[in-house]
């Protein structure tokens, strides 16, 4: 049963909801039901080689020595890959979007920071031979102390998980060890509040567990190119990542994807394509690198764990006067996409409620757990759970029905939000009213009369007269420029020469100079004016995803 109330979206494009509510056949469903949809592994190659990785049995260990001599002599082994064979053996996924420092090797050479981290790869004629040879690789480990809890990881003296970020915290905007949100003055409001409600919420990692495990098959193609069939969810993202790590122009890579056997976010990390292509480059034969189910569960990046502390100050009538968050995202051993999850999550605070004073410190924390990545609404789901659980707690404290409490505090159209944009097309009040009706909950007269169309704006559209700011968590030694290290900066490892025709690098992503800085969309009076803008490039290559992302992260304007 779907009910449309288009009046709440009157200022939006009127497309008459042509598709919504009407059954439509998927365009790919005939292939699905006849077993003919071409997933990455449904491409047959003569002489296919199989890649299996040697993985760390420890959460945290230094690599003293890797001895592959016995493995190299095993039956069927064609080649053994080590970190030194990877042209650019350090990456962070979001470097394609100009965000974060390269922190993760393809095959680690110095130390491992999570259980299952790969340190070598066997390429063999059969999967069984590759598995046997993996067992023959001898690694001399020096086991290091590990840390598995986000709050333990940020304590002084905690083991350093990732050398690039010695405080075990991602550095935002080259400036702070956490992402801040400051709006009004929460401490002042807490002093005036009738009730203080505090809560601690946490969520475990969740594995996406797609039916098809992640993988890729790469093969030499004609004209000095390589074809790569992949399960990736982000074809051009994986293409850019492979081009960067292999230091080759993306025009030499022919990626084929689009048929994904379930992803749910877990197939964006581009772990397989670079190694499969490298195998094809070095052996001249088709190579398949895919996880088995055990690897998918153990080393496949999950939705990261989160821990949230929320403190509300509530007036006697139930209005929330202030809300303060301290959040810890467990990024695992490397950044992957957790830094971005927090940007997204903080943009979502304090939930869909008009609260005049909001404060958040959210940390992207490194621990010796499996690196975390995307999964269905990541960055939002965990904190939404925390917010809504906390709303129930607040309602109880204020002596209100939880739905009345939500209606009282919900955004109305025209209200100022904590990230300094006006709310529009809210309809949360009306959704709550429908929920109450369906659930047989009797609302107060005021809740029944409330409307998101008329009750907002005016006084509620004003910014706080004063916003309390601070320099907590400021760091030094990180420069803004560190975050624009496309294709590897000066301090990045020198690319290894490969036995292939060298071509002028024309990476899939634009060079730093060609990315136009985002114009600031809003500047609160309390913050200093933006730094001088770099000159705009002549070429119109600036219309790129990086533009919007930079604008979102705010990095480019600080």
């Amino acid at each position: 049963m779907i009910e449309f109330r288009k009046e709440f979206f009157a200022n939006e494009r009127d497309d008459n909801l042509n598709e919504i509510g009407k059954p439509t056949r998927r365009q790919d469903i005939l292939g699905h039901v006849t077993g003919r949809s071409p997933y990455f592994d449904d491409h047959l190659f003569e002489g296919l080689l199989h890649i299996r990785c040697v993985r760390s049995p420890h959460h945290h260990a230094r690599i003293r020595r890797i001895d592959v001599s016995a493995a190299e002599k095993m039956p069927g082994v064609v080649r053994v890959l080590l970190g030194k064979d990877v042209p650019l053996n350090l990456n962070t996924l979001l470097s394609l979007l100009d965000f974060g420092l390269d922190d993760e090797p393809v095959l680690s050479t110095t130390k491992v920071a999570y259980k299952g981290e790969p340190v070598a790869a066997i390429i063999a004629e059969s999967e069984a031979q590759a598995r046997a040879a993996v067992l023959a690789v001898k690694v001399d480990w020096e086991v290091l102390p590990h840390v598995l809890d986000v709050e333990d990881a940020v304590k002084p003296g905690a083991p350093v998980v990732c050398d690039v970020y010695p405080s075990n915290k991602f550095i935002y905007h080259g400036k702070f060890d956490h992402q801040k949100l400051r709006y009004g003055d929460v401490e002042d409001a807490f002093a005036r509040a009738d009730h203080i409600v505090e809560g601690r919420y946490q969520m475990s990692p969740i594995e996406q567990a797609p039916m098809e495990t992640c993988g890729a098959i790469a093969a030499p193609e004609v004209n000095d190119r390589f074809v790569c069939f992949t399960s990736t969810q982000g074809l051009f993202f994986s293409l850019g990542t492979a081009a960067k790590l292999l230091t080759m122009p993306s025009s030499r890579l022919h990626f084929v994807g689009g048929t994904v056997g379930g992803g749910f976010g877990g197939k964006v990390d581009s772990m397989h394509e670079p190694l499969a292509i490298l195998g094809a480059m070095l052996t001249g034969r088709p190579c398949k690198y895919a996880w088995d189910r055990e690897e998918e569960m153990q080393v496949g990046a999950p939705r990261g764990a989160e821990r949230w502390y929320i403190k509300d100050g509530i007036a006697r009538d139930g209005r929330i006067l202030a809300r303060k968050f301290t959040g810890y995202f467990d990024s695992g051993a490397y950044t992957r996409l957790s830094s971005y999850a927090i940007i997204k999550g903080v943009g979502h605070l304090p939930g869909p409620y008009t609260i005049p004073n909001v404060y958040a410190d959210v940390f992207c924390v490194y621990t010796n757990r499996t690196p975390a990545t995307a999964m269905r609404g990541f960055g939002i789901t965990g904190v939404d759970f925390a917010i809504e659980a906390h709303m129930d707690k607040g309602a109880e404290m204020a002596g209100l029905n939880p739905i009345d409490f939500r209606i009282l505090n919900s955004y109305r159209d025209g209200d100022m939000k904590a990230h300094r944009r006006l709310a529009k097309n809210c309809a949360l009040v009306e959704c709550c009213q429908v929920v109450a009706e369906k659930g047989g909950v009797v609302l107060t007269q005021a809740s029944r009369a409330a409307t998101s169309l008329l009750d907002g704006g005016g006084e509620r559209a004003r910014l706080p007269s004063r916003t309390a700011t601070d320099q907590n968590g400021i760091v030094s030694g990180f420069k803004g420029g560190n975050y624009a290290k496309k294709g590897g900066g000066a301090s990045a490892p020198q690319p290894v020469a490969l036995p292939i025709a060298a071509s002028a690098p024309t990476p899939a992503y634009p060079s730093p100079a060609s990315v136009r800085p985002a114009a600031p969309t809003y500047q609160p009076a309390a913050t200093p004016p933006p730094a001088p803008q770099p000159p705009a490039p002549a070429a119109d290559t600036a219309r790129h995803g990086a533009l919007r992302f930079s604008s979102l992260s705010g990095f480019r304007r600080r």
């Binding site: 059954p23 997933y39 047959l44 039916m211 098809e212």
Partner: protein, 157 residues
Amino acid sequence: MAKKPVTFILNGSERATFAEEGLNLLEFLRRGIGDLSPKYGCGQGTCGACTVIIDGETHLSCLTMAVTIEGRKVETASGLANGKVHPLQEAFMEHFAAQCGYCTPGMLMSAKVLLDRNPAPTRADVIEAISGNLCRCTGYEPIIDAILATANMRRLA
């Protein structure tokens, strides 16, 4: 590894080939024969994506040795459409019973064996029949609806 001759019927046509003794039926069908419809999901017999029909019974091809199909009849999802799509396939399309599609071939095999044996299954029978087939897109309800609809259509026909 030593190879043994294997003669069997695949989707109604006779096949004569060789199989390594330790090879499982899934790899044999996929890489040896080129029938890519059974899928690898776990290799441990827990997910059902590799389900095939052998002599009218569902089997997990990842846990079945290829050489054991000597003289037997094997059916896979790629053979389900015989000139035109099978009623089960039509119902799966009509009821949106596939999202990513990866569990679908195995799901169809389990459904076919159920309907071949029991033309009027209850909802509980359907749930029991596909209990060995995981769908991570969690589209179980449309799948159950599609199988029940196929049974109803057949009774009316």
